[in-house]
């Protein structure tokens, strides 16, 4: 008889489990073949999310309670962190992208803290604790929020011409020869562009969820394979790295979608201009003393 192995899908909760259920439909309703349950409840992922928010808020309050011109200790560390983030954002999209720093930084801090929580012992194994990013509802919520925000920003920046990237009729205006065939091709390209916008939500969600959940499963499987829990420590290090990278990827992709949505498709040349820092702009990110 072969040795039994843990039943992964049953041993691991793919989503948070409800602690308090306010209302539920009970029976799953079939939406295009996928069973969907409308379930309004307070889950353990919500609870852990509150813990993350409390932790981040406490650190921010502690760091900014006594501000001094010569920072030391926690204030120094936070300033280094924020300056590093500002530097990074500017290296991606130039000084004009600095206004998306609050969104980018908040997403990054929240996601990285949540990802690192999944490595902490007992998180994911006891009833009240479930890493927020290991529940795809939370990732999907963040992805949909980011989607709505960058579409709104695109419409605000480009006005009605923003839809031209999906419905491009300029091909029909071309005169001469076989150029009339450009119209349908441009329409098709716009359709593909539109589909890729929708799929961004799906990939953002699943990438983060799969990585965090896969990491949790890998840690347990490695501990079980090696028989001694301490021997799985190198994989904990790997998971910490993956948590940082995946949080960075999510927020960085959101930032890049913002840049893509706000850049103008009108003429060539403007695109490159928007992505390059203007030499005359105030360089906030580099206005710091030289490091030794």
């Amino acid at each position: 008889m072969p040795p039994s192995y843990p039943d992964i899908p049953k041993a691991f909760e793919l989503t948070g489990q409800p602690l308090v259920t306010f209302a539920t439909t009970g029976e799953p309703a079939s939406v295009v073949g996928i069973g969907v349950v409308w379930d309004w409840s307070y889950t353990n992922a919500h609870f852990t999310m509150l813990l993350v928010i409390a932790l981040l808020t406490a650190i921010s309050v502690l760091a900014t309670r006594r501000l001094s011109d010569r920072p030391s200790g926690l204030q120094n560390f936070i300033e280094l962190l924020v300056q590093g983030l500002a530097d990074f954002v500017e290296s991606i999209g130039g000084p004009g992208v600095q206004k998306y720093l609050p969104l980018f930084g908040t997403l990054l801090l929240f996601l990285v803290t949540s990802n690192w929580l999944s490595v902490v012992p007992f998180v994911g194994q006891v009833t009240w604790l479930h890493a927020p990013t290991a529940d795809y509802h939370i990732n999907a919520g963040l992805a949909i929020l980011a989607f709505a925000l960058y579409q709104a920003e695109g419409f605000r920046k480009n006005g009605a011409t923003y839809v031209r990237r999906w419905v491009n009729l300029s091909g029909f205006m071309e005169k001469g020869g076989l150029k009339f065939m450009l119209g349908p091709i441009f329409l098709l390209v716009g359709l593909i562009e539109f589909a890729s916008e929708i799929f961004r939500i799906l990939t953002l969600t699943l990438r983060l969820w799969g990585n965090v959940l896969g990491g949790e499963i890998m840690l347990v499987v490695m501990s079980a394979l090696l028989f001694v829990p301490g021997l799985a420590l190198p994989f904990v290090g790997l998971e910490v790295f993956i948590g940082l990278v995946q949080g960075l990827i999510f927020s960085l992709l959101v930032l890049i979608y913002f840049i893509l949505a706000t850049e103008s498709h009108e003429e060539h040349g403007e695109t490159e201009h928007a992505l390059e820092p203007h030499p005359d702009d105030v360089d906030l990110a580099h206005a710091r003393p030289q490091a030794a």
Partner: protein, 73 residues
């Protein structure tokens, strides 16, 4: 015998193949670039990690599919 386990194994195995090749090429090329131009190593490393995570996302899709399939067993 439940074929869902087999399906899960095949889905994950083949799905991880592509990202594996992609990350291999990515790492080889960026190591080469870092060797040629060590001054740009920091930028290249950042881009390499971003690209690796993007490629890995596709493998993760296969992994999620495998998890869902093995849940059917």
């Amino acid at each position: 015998m439940n074929l869902a386990w087999l399906a899960a194994g095949i889905a994950v195995g083949f799905g991880v193949l592509g990202p594996g090749i992609g990350i291999g090429i990515l790492t080889a090329k960026s190591s080469e670039a870092m060797g040629r131009n060590p001054d740009a190593a920091a930028t290249i490393r950042t881009n390499m990690i971003i690209g690796a995570a993007l490629a890995e996302g596709l493998g993760i899709l296969a992994f999620v599919l495998g998890i869902l399939l093995s849940g059917k067993a």
